[in-house]
């Protein structure tokens, strides 16, 4: 696709826009706005991106699609590790998450990192929702720029 930097800059601006207003804006509110933006984006995006890749018959195939095709399309690399307990919980490890690589290498800015992951959590949740999987996506970061996305599938 086109130049990657455009998305990086727009994302940065979206994060700082949502946190404008300083003390009056609660962290949760702002993060959930970003997550919602990601959800709406992912929902529409996946309809367009799956044109060529056909349909998927089971959940694991859908997760593999997210780890490979979706991540490559959006972040130009694949997810480094996918773990599952085969009971609806999937953990995606990305050792060099593109939106965090320019920030730090280690523990600096750790408290701000979740802001930059909210949009991606929403993106994954939106994609999965349109593919038929209802879930909750959370992210965890202990050492920039590596991070983990945990997907919990809601069943029943």
């Amino acid at each position: 696709m086109a130049e990657e930097a455009v998305f990086d800059f727009i994302h940065m601006e979206a994060v700082s826009y949502v946190f404008q207003g300083g003390e009056k804006v609660s962290e949760d509110e702002a993060v959930s706005k970003l997550e919602h933006m990601g959800f709406a984006t992912g929902y529409r995006l996946v309809e367009r991106l799956t044109r060529e890749s056909g349909r998927y018959k089971d959940e694991l195939d859908i997760m593999k699609y997210i780890c490979k095709d979706l991540w490559v399309t959006v972040y130009k690399k694949q997810i480094d590790n996918l773990r599952t307990n085969h009971q609806g919980v999937y953990v995606l490890h990305d050792n060099r998450f593109r939106l965090l690589t320019h920030m730090a290498n280690g523990k600096q800015y750790l408290q701000y990192a979740p802001r930059y992951l909210a949009f991606t959590c929403g993106l994954v949740r939106g994609c999965l929702a349109n593919l038929g999987v209802t879930c909750v996506v959370t992210a965890e970061v202990t050492h920039l720029p590596a991070c983990k996305f945990q997907i919990q599938v809601q069943r029943g």
Partner: protein
């Protein structure tokens, strides 16, 4: 082209709601007999169960023939986002219908990029209607 036939095309969303419907009749046919729209909707709705069943058996998007009701055949096409395209027809026209589905799929994707279009809501765009008419004439009724 193939033997002229009647076609009823519908796009069904995630909640089994029709988002778009259109009928095609052969150009030379006398346009007036009674409106069979309610019967077409009924047949399409009844076929949804069979579409849902057969979509798990294959990873193709085009499901070919899924059902038959009196003289109507029902063909279906399911996208990865589980949007279902149903076509009722009274003549066999697999290739034409497959091409029509692919073109409508492209048109639908472009339409879904419109920020004012809410996913799973009825499609009310005149441009979409024109495209549907055009591809219907090209691939279905000839």
């Amino acid at each position: 082209m193939a033997v002229p036939g009647n076609y009823y095309f519908a796009i069904i969303g995630h909640h089994d709601n029709p988002m778009f419907e259109m009928e095609f009749a052969p150009a030379n046919k006398e346009p007036k007999k009674e409106d069979h729209r309610h019967l077409n909707q009924f047949i399409a709705h009844a076929a949804l169960d069979l579409v849902d069943e057969s979509m798990w058996t294959t990873s193709n998007m085009y499901l070919r023939l899924v059902d038959k009701f009196n003289e109507w055949f029902v063909s279906a096409f399911v996208t990865a986002g589980r949007v279902r395209f149903i076509c009722l027809h009274d003549v066999k026209n697999d290739d034409g219908i497959k091409n029509f589905f692919m073109e409508m799929y492209e048109t639908y994707i472009k339409h879904s990029m419109n920020p004012f279009y809410e996913p799973n809501s009825p499609i009310k765009s005149p441009a979409f209607d024109k495209k549907a008419h055009f591809y219907g004439r090209k691939y279905l009724t000839g």
